[in-house]
C-alpha cells in the first residue's frame, strides 16, 4: 500500500479539514469553553456534530453501527483536531475506548457502542498510575466478590474522567504489580458507587481526573475480554492510542509551523521581513523537514496497525517519540519566532505549546518511547 491517501482518504481529509477549521476552530471551541471555565473541557454540541459526520464511530465495525475504518483514517481526523486544537473526547472515546470495546462480548458492545456512535455518550480510559506513563506496572486491583469484582486503587491522568459515561479501567486480577499477565479490563459506568473523581484542569485547558476506586462493585458483565487476559487488549488500546496521539501531534506541529511561517512573512524588523533572515529560514526549513518526517512515520505506523503487522507496536513508539520531537520543536520555534507577542495569551501560538505539552505526556513521552524502542530492539 503506498504511503499517501487514496481517493477515499483524500476526501475524508478534505471533509475533516473543512469541518474542523469551521466548527472546531480555536475561537469557537478551545477559547470559547476555556474562557467560560467549562468543567468538561470540551463542547457536547461539537461532539454531536462529530457523530453526524460519522467520526465518533469511525473505528466501530459497520455491524455495530460504525464506519469500520482504521487507524489511518482516525489519524486523518486527529491531525485536523490537532491543527485546530479542537477539544473533544475523540481520542479517549473513539480511539482508545472503542479499541477496547472491539474485544468485548456482544452484550457489552450493545450496551456501550450505540451511545458512542450517536455522540450521546463520552467514554475514557484509566491506565496511568502516578505521574508518568508506566503501563507495565498495574497496582489497581479487582478482587473476586460474589459474581463480580471489587475494584480498589487509583488512576491518574484520566482524560475528562468526570465527564465520562463509562471508564475502561485496567486492573490487576492476579499476580504481582509488574506481571505481564493477570490484567483485566473493566467497563466501569459513571454511576458506580465508591468511585470518586478529583478533577483538575490541565495546562491545555482540558480536564483530567485522579480517579479513586474505593471498593467499586462490578458485575461480571463489566469485564471486557477475558479475566486475566486483558494485557493484550490493553496493548492494542495503547498502540492505537499512541498512533492516534501521534497523529494529533502532527496536526499540532503543522498548525504551529504554518502559523509561524505566516508570521515570518508579515513581521518586519530592521526594515526587513523577518522571514528574510537566513538564520530563521534555515531553522524553519529544518522544522519543516522534521514535521514531514513525523507525519510520514505516523502514517506508516497506522498502516502497519491496520494491516495487522507485528511491527506496528515498535513503529507506534517510534511515531510517538518522533512526533514529540518534531512538535516540541515546532511550538518552541513558534513561540520564539513570534517574539514577545508569542508569549501573550492573546495569540494562539502559545495554545499550541500548551496542547503539545499535554499530548507529549499522554501515553508516554519521547523518553519513554525511545527507551521502548531500545528495549524492543534488544539493547
Amino acid at each position: 500500500m503506498p504511503l499517501y491517501h487514496d481517493d477515499d482518504q483524500a476526501m475524508l481529509a478534505e471533509t475533516a479539514s473543512q469541518f474542523m477549521a469551521e466548527e472546531g476552530a480555536i475561537a469557537k471551541q478551545l477559547r470559547h469553553w476555556r474562557d467560560r471555565d467549562c468543567k468538561d473541557g470540551f463542547g457536547h454540541g461539537l461532539w454531536k456534530q462529530f457523530a453526524e459526520m460519522g467520526f465518533t464511530g469511525m473505528l466501530v465495525s459497520e455491524d455495530d453501527g460504525g464506519l469500520g475504518m482504521g487507524s489511518y483514517e482516525a489519524g486523518i481526523v486527529l491531525e485536523e483536531i490537532g491543527r485546530n486544537l479542537t477539544p473533544s473526547p475523540f481520542l479517549a472515546s473513539s480511539v482508545l475506548a472503542a479499541t477496547a470495546l472491539k474485544h468485548a462480548d456482544n452484550n457489552a458492545r450493545e450496551r456501550w457502542l450505540p451511545g458512542l456512535v450517536s455522540g450521546d455518550h463520552v467514554y475514557t480510559v484509566a491506565i496511568d498510575e502516578g505521574a508518568k506513563h508506566r503501563p507495565e506496572t498495574i497496582k489497581t486491583r479487582a478482587e473476586k466478590s460474589g459474581n463480580g469484582f471489587k475494584l480498589t486503587g487509583q488512576k491518574d491522568f484520566v482524560l475528562h474522567g468526570a465527564s465520562s459515561d463509562m471508564l475502561v479501567v485496567a486492573a490487576r486480577t492476579s499476580g504481582n504489580d509488574d506481571d505481564a499477565d493477570g490484567i483485566t479490563l473493566f467497563a466501569v459506568p459513571k454511576d458506580a458507587a465508591n468511585m470518586s473523581h478529583d478533577a483538575v484542569r490541565l495546562v491545555d485547558s482540558s480536564m483530567a481526573t485522579h480517579t479513586k476506586f474505593d471498593g467499586v462493585e462490578l458485575d461480571g458483565d463489566a469485564v471486557i475480554g477475558e479475566v486475566d487476559g486483558g494485557r493484550e487488549i490493553l496493548n492494542a488500546m495503547l498502540t492505537a492510542g499512541r498512533i492516534g496521539a501521534a497523529a494529533e501531534g502532527v496536526g499540532v506541529a503543522s498548525g504551529a509551523m504554518d502559523m509561524t511561517v505566516d508570521y515570518l512573512k508579515q513581521r518586519k524588523q530592521f526594515g526587513k521581513l523577518i522571514g528574510e533572515f537566513q538564520a530563521l529560514q534555515h531553522r524553519a526549513a529544518h522544522l519543516y523537514s522534521e514535521v514531514e518526517i513525523a507525519r510520514a512515520v505516523t502514517m506508516k505506523a497506522a498502516q502497519l496497525l491496520d494491516g495487522g503487522s507485528e511491527k506496528a507496536d515498535l513503529m507506534a513508539s517510534v511515531a510517538k517519540a518522533k512526533v514529540a520531537k518534531a512538535a516540541g520543536l515546532a511550538v518552541k520555534e513558534g513561540v520564539q519566532m513570534h517574539g514577545g507577542i508569542g508569549m501573550t495569551d492573546e495569540y494562539d501560538i502559545g495554545l499550541y505549546m500548551k496542547r503539545d505539552r499535554a499530548l507529549q505526556e499522554f501515553l508516554g513521552d519521547m523518553y519513554y518511547h525511545a527507551g521502548r524502542v531500545a528495549d524492543m530492539s534488544g539493547y
Binding site: Q336, T344, M353, K354, R357
Partner: protein, 393 residues
C-alpha cells in the same frame, strides 16, 4: 586581619543583628518582594524592619555614594556584602527598576541635581519606577520606535504606546524613550522621565501564556512632559535627541545583569532533584538529565569566570551577550526537562498540589527568557559582529 576580613566580620555582625529570621527564607510569593513606592505596603513587620535597617545603613544600594543614599562600598566590599547576605539566605531588602536600571543610567549620564533627587528617592524606596522601551512594532529593532514628543518650548506633548512596561500599573514614574526628531533615527530619541499620574497616561495589564503578569501596555495620549523639574533637574537624562546613548548603555547593563545573575537557578544541576521528586527515572530521561547537568554545571563555571573577569576589567565587553544567550536557552531546556520529570502532575494548571500550577506556569514563563532583554537571535548577531568580527554581521 586584612581590611576585607575586618569588613566581613563587621557585615556579619550587622546582618546578625538586623536581618530578621523571616527575611532569611527563600522568596516564595510575589508579596515576599518589597518594591517600595508611594503606595507600598509591607507584608509584615519583619519585611519592614529589614528594609528600614538596610535603608538607614545605605544597603539598599550599597555601592552607590552615601550622598545618593548608598553606603559607598567599594566593589570588593560590595561583593563581601552580597556573599554574606547569600550565606544566610537574606532576601533583597528592596527590589526596583530604579536600582537596577535608572540608577546606573543616572550615575553615568545624570546631572548632580538629578542624582540628588532621583537616586535618593530610589535608595529610600520612595518612588517606584518603570521602564518604557519596547513598542508593538519595535521589539528587537528597538530604535525604530515611534512614540513621539512634540516640542512645545518648555515641555513636550507625548503620544504613543509602549509595551512590556513591567509593573506600569503599580509604578510612580516612568523612564521612557520618546522620539523627538523624526528625521533622525538614532539621534532623534530622548530619554524622558515623567510621573505615571500625569494626565493622558493609562495602562493595561498583559496576560501571558503563563497567566497573569507584571507586564503592561502603556498608552500616552497628549501627555505633558516638562523639560525641567527644578534647578539642574532636567526632565530627561543625557541630552535631548541623544537618548539612544543612554538606552544602549542600559541595554548593555541589563544584559550584564542578566548574565551576572547568570548563576542562580538556571545553572543548577537538576538530575538529583528530579529523582527525589519523581522516584526512579526512565533511563533515557536520566541520560538527558545527565547531558543537561553537564551543560548546566559547565555554565556555572563560565558564570564564575565571567564575573571574575568582569570585576577585573578583563574579558570581552560583548561577553554578556553570550552569557545571556546561553543562560536563557539553558533555562528553557531545564524547565522542559522538569516538566518531563514531573509528568502529568506537572501539567496541572490550578491544583493545590501544584500550588496553582507552578511547574507549568514557570515552564511557560521561561520561554520569554530568550526574547526579553534582547532575543537570542540578537545576541548571536552581536557575538558574530563584536566578538567574531564576521563581515556584514
Amino acid at each position: 586581619m586584612s581590611d576585607h576580613e575586618a569588613f566581613r566580620a563587621e557585615v556579619r555582625e550587622w546582618l546578625e543583628a538586623n536581618c530578621p529570621p523571616e527575611m532569611r527564607q527563600p522568596v516564595k510569593d510575589e508579596d515576599d518582594v518589597y518594591w517600595g513606592g508611594r503606595n507600598a505596603t509591607f507584608k509584615n513587620d519583619a519585611q519592614k524592619a529589614w528594609f528600614e535597617a538596610c535603608r538607614d545603613k545605605g544597603y539598599t544600594v550599597a555601592e552607590w555614594p552615601e550622598a545618593y543614599g548608598g553606603a559607598g562600598l567599594t566593589p570588593a566590599e560590595g561583593k563581601i556584602l552580597r556573599q554574606e547576605m547569600s550565606r544566610i539566605g537574606a532576601r533583597p531588602p528592596l527590589s526596583s527598576f530604579g536600582i537596577w536600571m535608572l540608577g546606573p543610567a543616572l550615575l553615568k549620564f545624570g546631572t548632580e541635581g538629578q542624582k540628588q533627587k532621583f537616586l535618593n528617592e530610589i535608595a529610600r524606596g520612595e518612588i517606584r519606577w518603570c521602564q518604557g522601551y519596547s513598542e508593538p512594532g519595535s521589539g528587537s529593532d528597538l530604535v525604530s520606535m515611534q512614540t513621539f514628543g512634540e516640542d512645545k518650548g518648555d515641555h513636550w506633548i507625548v503620544n504613543g504606546q509602549k509595551i512590556w512596561t513591567s509593573y506600569a500599573d503599580e509604578a510612580d514614574w516612568i523612564f521612557c524613550l520618546v522620539r523627538t526628531d523624526k528625521e533622525n533615527k538614532y539621534q532623534g530619541i530622548t530619554f524622558m522621565l515623567f510621573d505615571m499620574t500625569s494626565d493622558g497616561v493609562s495602562t493595561k495589564p498583559i496576560k501571558l501564556i503563563s497567566g497573569n503578569s507584571p507586564f503592561c501596555e502603556t498608552f500616552m495620549d497628549d501627555v505633558k512632559v516638562p523639560k525641567s523639574y527644578g534647578e539642574d533637574i532636567p526632565g530627561y537624562v543625557g541630552e535631548i535627541n541623544r537618548g539612544w546613548d543612554v538606552a544602549k548603555y542600559l541595554l548593555g547593563h541589563e544584559r550584564e545583569m542578566i548574565s551576572g545573575a547568570g548563576g542562580g537557578d538556571r545553572t543548577a544541576a537538576i538530575g538529583a532533584a528530579m529523582k527525589r521528586m519523581s522516584g526512579e527515572l526512565d533511563a533515557v530521561l536520566r541520560a538527558e538529565l545527565a547531558m543537561f547537568d553537564v551543560d548546566a554545571l559547565a555554565y556555572s563555571a563560565m558564570g564564575e569566570k565571567f564575573l571574575d573577569e568582569m570585576k577585573a576589567g578583563k574579558g570581552h565587553p560583548a561577553q554578556p551577550n553570550m552569557m545571556k544567550y546561553v543562560g536563557t536557552e539553558l533555562n528553557k531546556t531545564r524547565h522542559e526537562l522538569m516538566m518531563a520529570a514531573g509528568g502529568s502532575r506537572a501539567l496541572e494548571w490550578e491544583s493545590e498540589e501544584t500550588r496553582g500550577g507552578k511547574p507549568a506556569r514557570n515552564w511557560l514563563r521561561t520561554k520569554a527568557n530568550s526574547i526579553e532583554g534582547g532575543t537570542s537571535e540578537v545576541m548571536l548577531n552581536v557575538i558574530s559582529k563584536r566578538i567574531l568580527d564576521l563581515p556584514g554581521a
